[in-house]
Structure formats: C-alpha cells, structure tokens
Symmetry: C2
Subunit: 333 residues, 2 copies
C-alpha cells in the first residue's frame, strides 16, 4: 500500500514479477477493496500465484517510526512483516516509510545473533561496474565493530546478488593512505581486514561511482548524505542538459539528433534501475523500494527479494557471523 | 611551484590575472630559474606588477604535513605564507599539498581569536544557484560549537564573494525534519540559529546541488566524502555519455550535432570554474587551488583571493566572532 503511488504501482509490478520470475508467488498486503480493483485492472484476478491479505491501516510516509510501530498493528507494513515472521512468506518488499520499516522489521523479526545492528544496503552504478554501499541511514553513529559487521553483511549480499565469489570491500575515508582518518576508522580497518572478507583498504567518495570495489562500508550518516549528493548532482546535470538543449532552434535540433543517445544514458544511470535497498542483519528478508518508484523499478525491488530468497541471505549472514564469533580474532593496536 | 603542473600553470594564470584584475600585483614564490623561464615565456619579464621571490624547496604532494612544516622552512609554500604573515603580500594562492598548506597556515598565521579551528570552504554549482560548503576535510570531527563557527565564517565569505547581504545557511543532516539526526547536530542547529546568521534549517545531501541555501555547514569528513562523491558521479556521467556517443555511426553523428550543447553543459558544470577553496578562520587569506588545475582554473583561485582581499574577509570574520563572543547567548536545551 505504501510509496507515493500505492497499489497502482505495486500491483503493476506484481504482474511483471509473475511474468518474469518463474517460481514466485505474491501475497499483496493492504486494503482488500483497493487491491482487488487493481488486480482486476491488471488481469490478475484468476492468477493462482497472486493472493490478497487484508490489512486495514497504512503507515504514513512521514509518520514517526516509534508511533507507527506502537499504534498501527494492522498496517499493511506490519502485517507483511508478520507474515515473514510466521513463515507464510519468505520476504517483504515495501515502498513505505523507511524508518518505520526498519523499526518494525527489527521489532518483529529481530536482529541475527552476533549482529549488533541491521543496516541498509543498495547497489549503485560505477565506471568499472556496480558497487553496493552500506549503511545508508539506519545507524547514524557506528563503532568499528558495527562497520566490520556491515563489511561482512555487504560481502554476503554481493556474493548472492552479483554472484561474485570474493567481493572486494572498501572502507570509506577521506584519503586512501593508511594514515588518514581518525582512530575509530583505523580500528575499523583492522577489524575488517581480520574478519576474513576480501578487504581492499580505504576508498574515497569518488570511488563510489568509479566502482573501485564491490562493497563500500560507511556509517549511516555519511552513506545517506553521499547517496543523496549523487541524486542531487544527477538532477543538476539533467537540468543543465535540458536547459542548454532548449536554448534555441539549433540546440533543439541537436537535442533531436542526440535523443536516442541521451535516452540510453538516462536508462543506464537511471536510479530506478538500482531500486531496492536490502535491510541486512534481520532474521528475514526485507527490501525497501524508493517511495517514488514506478512499476519497473518496484519490480526491481521484487527481483532483489527473490534473489535473496534463493540464496537465503539471512542464513548465510548468520553462518558467517557465527563462524566469525567462534574464531578468536587478534588485532594489533 | 605546487600542483601537478608547477610554474607552467601558475605563471600562465598570473599573466591572466594581471590582464583581468586591475589593481593586482603578484609575487611568484619558488625556484628563481624555473620561474624566470616561464615569466619570459609568458612575456611578463618587464611587467612591474610581477616579481619573483626565491624559495629553494618544494613540498611534495604526498608529503606528511607535520614533516613538511618541520623540515622545509624554505619551501615555496612556507615562504609564501611567511610573506602573508609579514604583510608583504595580502594573500597566498597555492595548488600544493592541502594538509601541508593548512598546517603551515595555522602555524604561521595563527587562528583568529574566538575561532577554534580553520575550515576549508568552496563554491559548488546548483540548480537554483551556487552553494558554498564547509568544512571539506580540515576537521574530521566537529563539535556543535565548531559547526556554529563554520556557519559564521561561511556566511561572511558568501557576503563578500557573492555579494549576498544575508546568506541562508543550512546544516547538513539526513533529513530536513527537526527530529532528525543525533544530539550533537540538534545542538549545532540551536547554536547556529542563535548566532545571528540567517539559519535555514537542516538540509540533505541532494540540497547541495539543488542550491537550496547559500551556505552548507558540515564536518570535514562528511564534506570531503560528499564533494568527492560529486566528482565521481560527474566522471561517471561523462564516461557513459562518451561511450554511448561512440557506439556506432548514427550515435557519432548525434554526438556531432549535440557537441556545442554538450560543450556548454561541460563548461557550466566544470569543477574548474569553481576552483579555489578558501582556508577560513586564519589571520590572513589563503586560497587552495585543485592540484590538477589548469591556467584558467588557477586564475579563478587568484580571483577569489583578490575578492577576499578587497573585502578583508579575515577582519570581517574577526569582528563578527568578537561581537558574538561579547554577547551572552542563551540556548534552550
């Protein structure tokens, strides 16, 4: 029910998912009548792989997470996560309020033993290939231990989603030399290097879109600012391109000639292609779609959830952290 | 002498500055012979407004700031800052090692009374107009008090450079609502609001390139990552544009038609247009150019220094902070 466009987008994406992902079955959680209407519109009424689970409430996009958790026990978000908990479904995909989704997921599903805090992770495009970055806003302040857990979780997600056996992990810093940064980040570097992931070293802000490494680890404040900085700059480039092409008759003609290429560029860099952020570290799979997602980008979030189910990402994170906990780690300080 | 290209660029920029900035006089600090050679190349040998001050050493781009400060007392950087200290020149512009420039400037010029830490500030393009952001890497961890000082300094710089009477100041956070962020950032918001600057409120990463406010305040870690994230994304967009236009004959033809517009876009967003970061909070004017600056972008850094001289930015910062120190500030906590 969530997101800026509600069931029109989510049910439309459900139809695409049914067509494109062979084994998938979908439970649409929310207002029965509204969902039924869209299901008929999309010709899914007789599809055995789609069913509706009624929920009478909706969490608002700007609602305080703690309040949503406390007051809206029959919200579509809460009910969907309850279904993950009970094992009736294997994953929840939501375009709703991020804070409420994280708070509710933590409360209902609980954090994996050995993981201190769940984190939010998404894919971003890069010159040398995509990068996954975490955390993107769930944890504003992170200890070195938290960052080391993020490195482990990000690494396992990329193994599953990208099918890379030994993903490289970089720690975001303000310089790539070992002497850079404060004591906390140097300690995090030691912990990550000792944790068994394929640690690359420090990376800088420009390495994100270079695609220097497969996984970039940072705290939720920096991750969130960096992600949104990229969104802002992309919007600026698009704005300047449009206004320059509209300048006069000649430039409009130029725009016409260049249109197929510009469309291809936009497609390649379209954030919707990368839509779907994984809430990692929970006893269950939860994928957050951008609130403004359209059908094909919400479909991408469903696709990510399906891959996480196939690879049983929570169990793999759990096994990795258990193995890590069993092993005494020696870090020279 | 500094930067990736040395005197070829700096002397070339000096020639442009002499031509374009009426009252300016330039002292070129560095190896006498190398500078003389370039000065002759650029036809500046008889110009009364250009003279050379010999310095026998050069700080390397990757030299440790503390070592450079201790060992290279006759480096071009150190000598140039000494000239600011002695009053022989009114500003220093350098494309050299940022850390060494900040450390040497702090050591020689000292920090303005009432300012705890100098900060680095630069202009960035935005949809609604440019923004100045600080700090960009001098201070990794900042207290609320530091951030409030940055707000004051950034505000005075923008008053001078952009000629905006009452610049709006935003505090970078992971949400614009007042409840967002940790206690430290909420406290910083209170201090900034009480400091007499035109406080806008919290801004997010995407507000940087939207140009939502005139000044954005953040700590040096976040500022540096955000700045470099933007550089990385700009490089990715440029890379994808180029590779798409080169795809086949038709797209190459499209590129040809669109070339004037693409060049205009590049010009508008060119980071070199915004080259020149001010080291604020020192008893003297120091402007840092990007190491890879070419002649016209180094010229821009000289232009910024000239405007700061004209407006006597250090004195204005000093007066503002003194006025602020005299005034008892009441902040409700």
């Amino acid at each position: 029910m969530g997101g800026d466009f509600g069931p029109r987008v989510t049910v439309g994406a459900a139809k695409q998912a049914i067509e494109q992902i062979p084994a998938i079955e979908l439970v649409l959680v929310g207002d029965r009548d509204k969902l039924r209407h869209q299901i008929e519109q999309y010709g899914l009424a007789d599809d055995q792989r789609v069913r509706v689970h009624h929920a009478s409430e909706v969490v608002d996009m700007d609602e305080l997470p703690a309040l949503a958790l406390k007051k809206k026990k029959d919200s579509s978000m809460r009910v969907a996560i309850d279904l993950v908990k009970s094992g009736e479904v294997q994953a929840c995909v939501s375009a709703g309020n991020t804070g409420a989704l994280m708070a509710t997921s933590k409360f209902v599903l609980k954090t994996i033993r050995g993981i201190s805090r769940p984190a939010i992770c998404t894919e971003l495009p890069g010159v040398q290939g995509p990068t996954h970055m975490l955390d993107l806003g769930a944890n504003l302040e992170c200890s070195p231990e938290h960052l080391a857990e993020f490195a482990l979780m990000g690494s396992i997600l990329v193994q599953s989603v990208e099918n890379i056996r030994n993903p490289s992990v970089g720690l975001l810093n303000i310089g790539s030399e070992e002497v850079k940064g404060n004591e906390s980040i140097k300690r995090a570097a030691q912990l990550i290097a000792a944790s068994g992931v394929n640690y690359y070293g420090f990376v800088e802000g420009d390495d994100i879109y270079k695609g220097t490494v497969d996984v970039i680890v940072t705290d939720g404040f920096v991750g969130n600012v960096s992600l949104k900085t990229g969104e802002g700059l992309a919007a600026l480039v698009s704005h300047v391109l449009q206004s320059e092409f509209k300048r006069n008759f000649i430039t409009r003609l130029g725009a016409l000639c260049a249109m197929p290429v510009l469309k291809a560029v936009r497609r390649k860099l379209d954030p919707r292609r990368y839509n779907g952020a994984s809430l990692l570290g929970l006893n269950g799979i939860v994928v957050k779609s951008h609130g403004s997602a359209d059908i094909s980008s919400f479909m991408n979030a469903i696709r990510i959830a399906a891959i996480e189910i196939e690879n049983d990402v929570p169990s793999r994170i759990s096994s990795a952290i258990e193995a890590h906990l069993d092993q005494p780690v020696e870090v020279v300080t």
